[in-house]
């Protein structure tokens, strides 16, 4: 079935995410925008996913628990999981690899963990806008071990992208798909980087504010409207070569 998607959205747990990006409000905004399946992808954590998934269940929209992982090369990678057990385990693992730098909300912004009614459970103490020790060469394998799927984020950006930071995408990284921003010319990118000629391409909003979330526009063909089907789909695509 064709599903309108947005696989890259931040909540108020990302230091740069707006206070109004609460699990309840962002999921309901996605519903209003006509999306069928969204992923919550905060920086280096999945701790607002349990709330967002619950809201998704009552709002009748599939919420994929996810993370925008920052690799040790400062390359951003969207990691998606079939359920909150898998995302929770991955989140805990990543937390153990982050530098022990305490957040300064006055500089970087608050990092709020919420329940499904938008009550603040607590603030995340460690700064999440840092880099894990996971390498971009190992991330695809690692995410699969945790039952998920991943793809490099906004590869057309000039910062935090695999192309800007490493200059290239290589087959050994083990990706099947990439993310481009809405500004990118897909045909031009496929031509310029033959490695993504046959790869899956996702266009996401990377919204940090409710007003930056996008109307339903891009679709993906899924077995069913669920997180598990998204992960399955990404992992069923051909590996880049």
């Amino acid at each position: 079935m064709k599903c309108f998607y947005d696989f890259h959205i931040h909540s108020c747990l990302s230091p740069c995410g707006d206070r109004n990006m609460t699990p309840h409000d962002l999921v309901n905004m996605a519903k209003l925008l006509g999306l069928d399946v969204i992923a919550l992808t905060d920086h280096n954590t999945c701790l607002n996913c349990p709330a967002a998934v619950k809201v998704g269940q009552s709002a009748d929209i599939a919420v994929v628990p996810g993370m925008e992982l920052c690799t040790c090369e400062e390359v951003h990678v969207i990691c998606l999981f079939p359920d909150i057990a898998a995302s929770g385990a991955f989140s805990e693992h990543i937390l153990s690899t982050l530098p022990k730098v305490v957040n300064r909300p006055d500089i970087f912004g608050e990092q709020l963990i919420m329940d499904e009614q938008d009550n603040v459970i607590c603030e995340h103490e460690l700064l999440l806008a840092t880099a894990s020790t996971v390498s971009v060469s190992n991330v695809a394998r690692l995410v699969r071990e945790f039952g998920g799927a991943c793809f490099p984020a906004h590869i057309d950006r000039t910062s935090y992208s695999v192309i800007s930071n490493l200059g290239m995408l290589t087959p050994d990284m083990g990706f099947t798909a990439v993310e481009l921003t809405e500004n990118a010319d897909i045909d031009e990118w496929r031509q310029r980087y033959p490695i993504i000629k046959n790869a899956g391409i996702f266009i996401d909003s990377d919204a940090h504010y409710l007003e930056n979330m996008k109307e339903a526009k891009y679709t993906v063909e899924l077995r069913e409207r669920s997180a598990a089907a998204v992960v399955e789909y990404i992992n069923s695509l051909e590996l880049m070569k």
């Binding site: 530098p99 500089i107 700064l127």
Partner: protein, 108 residues
């Protein structure tokens, strides 16, 4: 040596002035912000080509004396605004980080 003297010594362009009388006590070179934030020391002159808004946050967090953008690297508008708000000293030079570090080393 303070930041103003360092700017003169490096013949640097001053992009943002905070407390230019701040003493420069060391030097750190790095472009991966996550490394810099956990390794740069208070009072360092931080040599980098990263002139985005996150660099300013890192400079405040690590409490460096100044950012020195090397090789004429760009400072974007958001970063400049944030630097003004936070009083972060930002210098810019055309030399690369190696040449700049040699000049810093001879002065502190």
């Amino acid at each position: 040596m303070d930041v103003r003297q360092l700017a003169e010594k490096l013949n640097a362009e001053v992009l943002c002035e905070g407390d230019m009388s701040r003493e420069v006590t060391g030097c750190y070179i790095g472009d991966l912000l996550s490394w810099v934030m956990s390794r740069a020391q208070e009072g360092d002159a931080w040599l980098t080509v990263m002139g985005n808004i996150n660099s300013i946050g890192v400079a405040v967090l690590a409490d460096v004396a100044c950012i020195v953008l090397t090789e004429g690297a760009a400072l974007d508008a958001d970063a400049l605004n944030r630097a003004v708000q936070n009083g972060v000293n930002i210098l810019r030079v055309e030399d690369n980080s190696y040449i700049t570090a040699i000049a810093v080393a001879g002065s502190i």
